[in-house]
């Protein structure tokens, strides 16, 4: 049996943040980009063990998995536990497209009183709790890259981006963190 | 017209400049003219001048919606060069550059043509291939354009950063020494004065609202905000508004009018000797004689006649400029504005007869309008006078979009594999 491959994570050893903003590369997670028409939502929700959100800017969690609404026929499903996402959707019996993007994306956890200010250094969205409550998510821009934002708490966000943009994302967050007030 | 010279200036200084004549006459429009040019920018006024000077046609009216040179002529970043790629482009832009070289003397009006050199920066292998293709084609066509090493580029333009640690290090540059800048307002006023002196009527604040046509479909004149004015021939030279005017004659054209923004810095002592352009980092810069850094970039993405654009275009432009010239980061932006560029799918102009008899169109110059002004005007005059294009402008037909014989200057610069 040939030796087993090990993982080399993006942002390994990345360090930054300020008293107002803590930055932490997220643990590796399983992810699928799920696309389907509305008529397949019920079957896919059952297969995944959570009810896929159908309203814009919303997410849903269930069984350690989180599903983010990205478009009328598009979700990003993240599972930090064991994966099995592809197998689950395949068994749903619904017509759909599921594509493993676990390694395409990586994520940065942004938390602290200055979290939304740091994000607003590059993101044009209104990140007040009123406009972007806990559980809200959106694909948007952060500086010169595309990201997916999920608010996980009043002062906590998960920023998903493609692997090759993660140095840029972390660098901009680190610089923006020093400019955020408590 | 009174000849301008240092002697005239001294003489007038003695009597506190009371004796200067108006640049142009602003007559009431006649009932009809032999030729009407729609659009009082550099191209329109120039065409009237060359019709009078080279084709002996002087019963002409140039009709301008607002004030002379108020469109793109007064809003561009005044860059002049002729090192384009395709023969059709080289023909017309080199014809224009040769006219630039003698324009002040021809018009007896100092348009301040300043051949300080236009340097296009190469940041990667694709840029190098593209520029060398231009350089080789230009050489065989008799147009000066030379390849510089990064060190030579730095010597020619000292503020340039050629360090290898830059995000997109410079691996060379293409320099056209005869390229440079000129004073845009002076081009409009110089042509207007010379045309007016030869009997051309210049009619401002007169918006064309319709094109009237005769029994066999030929043009017979224009409806305007100041009444109907007859014409045997009509030349449309309305830049960003070309689609609007051509549709008055039922002719559709392949244009999109986009805002093109530019900005100037506060005036500085001389620091920037030439013109520098970069496709990859996407910006271009020169310093005006008053000392302002004149900076321009790409168009806003959507079609608009608002002559304003988004702040993000300005910030992205300045990102690029300060990446190339880090010492300018503390300099301040004094003013930003926008023009309306008429862009064709292949980024080459249209100077052509149209399906409507005696209706000629000169448009689609996009971001290349200023540098083309004398050449375009000169050849458009030939087209209007003779009814068929001058050989140097033969390729710029409206029909090329039917046959597919495009002159794709845009593709030549597209990003690589």
């Amino acid at each position: 049996m040939a030796e087993l491959a090990t993982r080399t994570l993006p942002l390994a050893g990345a360090y930054g943040g300020s008293p107002a903003v803590q930055l932490q590369p997220a643990r590796p997670a399983a992810r699928i980009s799920l696309r389907a028409r509305p008529d397949a939502v019920e079957a896919l929700s059952a297969a995944l063990g959570l009810s896929l959100p159908t309203a814009p800017k919303t997410s849903a969690t269930g069984g350690g998995r989180t599903a983010l609404w990205l478009g009328p026929d598009e979700w990003l499903v993240i599972d930090e536990g064991d994966s099995g996402l592809m197998q689950a959707t395949a068994a749903s019996g619904a017509v759909h497209s599921a594509t493993d993007v676990s390694h395409r994306n990586t994520a940065i956890l942004v938390s602290g009183p200055g979290a939304s200010q740091a994000l607003n250094a590059g993101c044009p969205l209104d990140l007040s709790l009123k406009a972007f409550p806990v559980g809200a998510c959106a694909r948007t821009l952060f500086g010169k890259i595309e990201v997916v934002l999920l608010r996980t708490g009043p002062d906590a966000f998960r920023l998903e981006c493609w692997r090759s943009f993660s140095d840029y994302a972390f660098g901009l967050l680190a610089e923006a963190a020093t400019d955020a007030e408590i | 017209m009174r000849k301008y010279s240092v002697f005239a200036l001294v003489k007038e200084a003695m009597r506190s400049h009371k004796g200067w004549e108006p640049h142009w006459v602003s007559p009431e429009p006649r009932s009809s003219y032999d030729v009407i040019i729609i659009g009082g920018g550099g191209h329109g006024l120039g065409a009237a001048y060359y019709l009078a000077k080279e084709h002996g046609i002087t019963n002409i009216a140039v009709i301008e919606r607002g004030w002379l040179g108020g469109g793109n002529t007064g809003r561009n970043t005044t860059i002049i060069r002729s090192n384009y790629l395709y023969e059709e482009s080289m023909d017309i832009y080199e014809h224009s550059l040769k006219l630039w070289e003698g324009l002040s003397q021809d018009l007896n009006y100092n348009v301040m043509y300043s051949p300080r050199g236009v340097m296009m920066l190469s940041h990667n292998t694709h840029d190098m291939q593209s520029f060398k293709r231009h350089i080789n084609a230009n050489r065989l066509y008799g147009i000066d354009n030379e390849w510089l090493t990064p060190e030579q580029a730095k010597a020619f333009c000292p503020p340039l950063d050629i360090s290898k640690t830059a995000r997109y290090p410079i691996n060379g540059a293409a320099l056209q020494k005869r390229g440079g800048t000129a004073r845009h307002d002076a081009v409009a006023w110089g042509y207007a004065r010379a045309a007016s002196d030869r009997g051309v009527h210049i009619i401002q604040n007169c918006e064309v609202t319709g094109i009237r046509r005769g029994p066999s479909g030929e043009v017979t004149g224009v409806e305007t905000s100041r009444g109907f004015i007859g014409a045997k021939k009509i030349g449309v030279s309305a830049a960003g508004h070309s689609s609007v005017v051509m549709q008055m004659a039922g002719v559709r054209v392949p244009l999109t009018s986009n805002p093109l923004q530019a900005l100037v810095s506060e005036p500085l002592k001389p620091i920037f000797p030439c013109v520098v352009m970069s496709n990859t980092v996407h910006a271009y810069i020169s310093q005006s004689d008053k000392g302002e850094l004149v900076i321009g970039a790409g168009t806003d993405q959507y079609h608009s006649y608002s002559q304003t654009g988004g702040l993000q275009i300005i910030t992205h432009t300045l990102d690029a400029i300060c990446e190339l010239f880090p010492i300018f980061r503390r300099v301040k932006m004094m003013r930003q504005w926008g023009g309306i560029t008429d862009n064709t799918p292949d980024r080459s102009a249209i100077q052509s007869v149209t399906p409507v008899p005696n209706l000629f169109v000169n448009c689609g110059w996009g971001t290349g309008g200023f540098k083309a002004t004398p050449g375009s005007a000169n050849l458009f005059a030939h087209l209007i006078a003779r009814g068929e294009p001058h050989p140097l402008a033969a390729g710029l037909t409206l029909d090329r979009f039917r046959t597919g014989r495009l002159i794709d200057e845009a593709a030549a610069a597209a990003v690589a594999h």
Partner: protein, 985 residues
């Protein structure tokens, strides 16, 4: 040095001082002083030289509209800032300040000779001369003019400071923190709305800072303002931004603000940005931008010591500084009287108030006379004297010729107040001209914004307070008193500077534009205000016409015999005041200028000593030099080794799109020129994509993993635009197809192993797959396991050798790469980069879209006519391909080019001609698209686009270069292993 600080006046604390140098001399300022107030306190008025005539100029204003006192301010060599307004820059301890635009000294400037010769330099003189001889303009005249022009010196070093950006949203943005702004902000804040209040000064209050006689809510104006500020700062839904300018009002209530964070601090915290750019989307905007006092236009109105009346009041009432000891006043507006009254009460000798109006406001006149000040109504100042400082004014009763000289060391002037409608105009609001008061005022608000206070032409304090409260939307009700209701104001030339006069009555101080310049422009046929502005450059200086626009317009209208609104108004453009480039750039610098995209194998490539090149925003391994090899030697070794043993290459940047769904094959049939429904799962096919116009747009290998799942690859540069192109057609032209697209470019590390030993290298790492030719032939794809990891293995080759591409989930790429590379190295194989990849594929005649094609090349031109399906009823490009010019004879076609001299390597971009001796402009047949030295063939090879190329096999053509002409033979494009056996090895 006598101090002009008045005991007990102003609001600065005398204890805290700061020292700075101005042109080498050391001065002392109080903390909170601006450079202007500090210099005035030390009796210094001379601060600059004008642009054209280099006339000595003093501070004129106390705000951002300052045209004269532009200084060079630096902390150290790198932190040096030109063109800084002395009236805005606060003094910090240790500041090094220099005057500009003068040589050798401010007090003695050679440039001043221009003033003597000014008769020869009227507006627009440079259009009339400098035309002989032809080259002289660029070589002689222009350099001289450029050296004289310009004000400050550009910094010489890169800026070490950093800047920040903040997108923000609010319900109400209030521009201006004066009486109106504070009221609107408090009113809005009390409704619970999110409010941002912005003021360009260090302290709120606006006009209340100098107008000490005003009381609001029973308190002195300044105290009321600071009290409201405390209330606002205590509210969580309010953000107050001082030292911040709203510089731009863009579409849909989007506003650009610049906050000056550290420029006033002696030793700022290194973590702080120097300035912060705010990009605010406001639901509603309240413009409370006040008004700017105008100067008077009269002969020699520009000597140092001549200031705006309100400026003198601010220097006295806020900074405690008297601008002079023998002060004259020349006015057409009542407000100047209060300046005289304040100075008189502070013990300063106010020698005379000259009011050009026959009947000014009685209250202010009697108040002034009550204090013993001589008030001359119906008089005018018709001249001034004094070189580096004003020494006297000459006054005369209007219409009479006998005049009288009054010695002064300062002259305050007021032509009245111009409502600041800059931001309103930027919001594309429509202005109207109020003929009674000769003011342009907001008329139609186009965006969700409202103007309140002086910028709306509201003079009465209580109307202002109620309008502002209403604009805020809250229940706040305030009232206040003012001692005098101001009347008056004039625009245009004053007495003694009329139509027939040739005196220098300055309209635009910085650009030295006089009243007679504007009249000259009108005489020369310039009748539009835009022509007049551009011909004279009136209003084109760094203060952008804040003081000069209205005067210029009035003088032009008088010459034209037209109503002012008929002459028009020039456009107010962003920014309101100049904005630092660094601020607009904010974070986009250095490594954050543009993302540097690296593949998952990047670290390994660096360890292996790779040189990198930029491809789009990717960093790609270019070549792997060993022991002092240059690129040429490294590439030759890599090329040789790849074909004799094996080469390993990082192909991760290639675009990858997963096309999934029952209609996947149908969709690909529409998007690519070739057919896909007969491609069996486990097989691959090379696809060419065109747009509707029929020109090659992208290409790549497509692998079918199952009935409804395709793994589509695109060029590196093409990845985003191909996906966008596909989504465009899928969503709008073929919406009924059940298929979806997902970008997987970065899901996979892609390790290409090419060469005779390729199979031997990867075999031990691959489980669950028979790699033999029979089971896994060329152009196959299979899902398997590599080193225990789920992988996709492709049997594809871009080198013509036996080739595999190992696709493993990205994070595993480095480990798999190390394993493959150690086995390859042991067998004598090599790593290779993009340069070698280019050579090997060219040896096989494979094209590169974007290099061999440039958007004007059809599939047939490129020799890929076979890939265009003849059977399919429809695909994108099917009609475009059949257009006349794309079907005509003589199109440029890709062909091989072999130089007669095998050692000669052509230059990519070289032009190809039939007859090298033809005279220029030559007829060109095409150009060299790819050219390399081929180590494997021991000679140079090239590919080129040549008119009618395929019909010219064996012909000799020529590539004329600068110093030589190179003969080439037109050949087939495949140079190496023509029978193509190796790929099936």
């Amino acid at each position: 040095m006598t101090t002009h600080r008045i005991k007990g006046a102003g609001r600065l604390t005398p204890a805290r001082t700061a020292r700075f140098t101005f042109d080498g001399k050391i001065y002392t300022a109080l903390e909170g002083d601006t450079v202007a107030s500090a210099l005035l306190a030390n009796g210094v008025h001379l601060m600059g030289r004008s642009f054209k005539y280099h006339r000595p100029r003093g501070i004129l204003t106390a705000g951002p509209e300052e045209p004269n006192a532009l200084l060079d301010v630096s902390r150290d060599a790198a932190r040096r800032q030109p063109n800084v307004r002395a009236s805005v820059q606060e003094v910090f301890d240790g500041a090094i300040i220099r005057s500009q635009n003068r040589w050798p000294f401010l007090s003695f400037d050679i440039g001043g000779f221009n003033n003597l010769l000014s008769a020869f330099f009227p507006a627009g003189f440079y259009y009339k001369t400098f035309m002989w001889p032809r080259e002289a303009w660029a070589k002689l005249y222009e350099p001289i003019i450029r050296r004289a022009a310009g004000l400050g010196v550009a910094p010489k070093e890169a800026d070490p400071d950093h800047y920040a950006n903040r997108f923000a949203h609010c319900d109400v943005l209030v521009a201006g923190g004066g009486a109106a702004g504070l009221t609107a902000a408090l009113s809005a804040a009390q409704t619970g709305a999110d409010v941002i209040l912005v003021d360009e000064r260090a302290e709120v209050g606006g006009a209340l800072l100098f107008d000490t006689a005003v009381t609001i809510d029973g308190k002195p104006g300044y105290d009321w303002a600071q009290d409201v500020l405390r209330q606002l700062k205590a509210m969580p839904n309010v953000r107050v931004l001082t030292r911040t300018t709203v510089f731009g009002y863009y579409n849909h209530n989007f506003l650009g603000l610049v906050e000056r964070v550290t420029d006033h601090l002696a030793s700022p915290d290194a973590a702080l940005p120097r300035e912060r750019l705010w990009q605010v989307r406001a639901r509603k905007v309240v413009l409370a931008t006040g008004a700017i006092e105008r100067h008077m236009v009269f002969a020699n109105n520009d000597r140092p010591g001549i200031l705006l009346a309100s400026a003198a009041r601010l220097y006295l009432n806020h900074y405690g500084v008297a601008v002079g000891s023998k002060v004259g006043v020349y006015t057409a507006h009542d407000s100047a009287y209060e300046a005289a009254i304040d100075l008189k009460r502070a013990g300063v000798d106010v020698v005379a108030i000259v009011d050009c109006r026959a009947k000014p406001g009685e209250a202010v006149v009697s108040a002034a006379r009550g204090l013993g000040i001589e008030v001359l109504t119906g008089y005018s100042v018709i001249d001034t004297a004094g070189h580096l400082r004003i020494s006297s004014i000459t006054v005369a009763r209007n219409g009479s010729s006998n005049n009288r000289k009054i010695p002064v060391d300062a002259l305050l002037m007021s032509g009245g107040w111009t409502p600041s409608v800059h931001l309103f105009s930027q919001s594309r609001g429509k202005l109207k001209f109020d003929a009674a008061t000769e003011r342009f005022l907001p008329d139609v608000h186009v965006q969700d914004c409202v103007s309140v206070g002086a910028c709306n032409g509201t003079d009465d304090l209580n109307t202002l307070l109620s309008d502002a409260a209403a604009a805020g939307g809250g229940a706040l009700r305030l009232s206040g008193e003012v001692p005098f209701a101001w009347t008056g104001g004039m625009i245009g030339a004053a007495e003694g500077a009329g139509k027939d006069k040739v005196v220098k009555a300055f309209v635009d101080f910085q650009h030295d534009v006089t009243a007679k310049d504007i009249r000259l422009a009108v005489r020369e046929g310039m009748h539009s205000i835009e022509h007049i502005k551009r011909f004279t450059t009136n209003g084109m200086a760094s203060d952008q016409g804040k003081l000069s626009n209205m005067h210029g317009l009035a003088i032009a209208a008088e010459m034209l015999g037209k109503e002012i609104p008929k002459v028009g108004l020039t456009t107010f453009r962003a920014p309101y005041t100049p904005v630092t480039y660094g601020t607009l750039i904010a974070h986009s610098r250095g490594s954050l200028f543009d993302p540097a995209r690296k593949t998952p194998l990047h670290a390994e490539l660096v360890k292996a000593g790779a040189e990198f090149e930029d491809v789009g925003n990717w960093k790609r391994a270019w070549y792997f030099p060993k022991r002092g090899e240059d690129m040429h030697q490294a590439v030759n070794r890599e090329c040789r080794t790849a074909r004799t043993v094996a080469g390993v290459f990082d192909a991760s940047t290639l675009g990858k799109i997963e096309v999934v769904g029952p209609d996947a094959a149908k969709f690909l049939n529409l998007m690519y020129t070739n057919a896909w429904d007969n491609l069996k799962p486990g097989k691959c096919r090379y696809g060419i994509m065109t747009r509707e116009d029929g020109f090659v747009y992208d290409d790549g290998v497509v692998g079918r993993l199952s009935e409804d799942r395709f793994h589509v690859t695109t060029t590196t540069g093409g990845a985003p635009r191909v996906l966008h192109h596909m989504e465009d057609y899928l969503q709008t032209e073929f919406p009924d197809l059940k298929v979806w697209l997902t970008s997987t470019t970065e899901q996979w590390s892609v390790i290409a192993v090419q060469g005779p030993k390729a199979r031997e290298i990867i075999a031990p790492l691959v489980e669950g797959l028979d790699l033999s030719n029979e089971a896994f032939p060329h152009m196959s794809v299979a899902e398997c396991t590599v080193m225990g990891v789920p992988a996709r293995l492709f049997r594809v080759s871009f080198t013509g050798e036996l080739g595999f591409e190992v696709n493993v989930p990205a994070d595993y790429g480095a480990a798999v790469w190390k394993a493959i590379w150690s086995r390859t190295e042991a067998m004598g194989g090599c790593l290779y980069g993009t340069e070698t990849m280019h050579v090997l594929r060219a040896e096989k005649g494979y094209i590169i879209v974007g290099q061999d094609t440039d958007g004007t090349v059809t599939p047939d031109d490129a020799g890929y006519g076979w890939a265009v399906s003849k059977k399919k009823p429809d695909f994108v490009g099917i009609r475009g391909l059949k257009r006349p010019d794309l079907m005509r004879e003589g199109r440029k076609q890709l062909v091989g080019l072999l130089t007669r001299d095998p050692a000669e390597v052509l230059e990519e971009g070289g032009q190809i001609v039939e007859n090298p001796n033809q005279v220029k402009p030559m007829t060109m047949l095409g150009h060299v698209t790819s050219a390399y030295w081929s180590e494997n063939l021991g000679r140079s090879i090239a590919i080129g686009l040549v008119a009618n190329g395929r019909a010219r096999m064996g012909e000799t053509l020529y590539v004329p270069m600068k110093d030589k002409t190179i003969a080439v033979e037109v050949t087939d494009m495949v140079f190496f292993d023509k029978e193509g056996g190796r790929i099936h090895g």
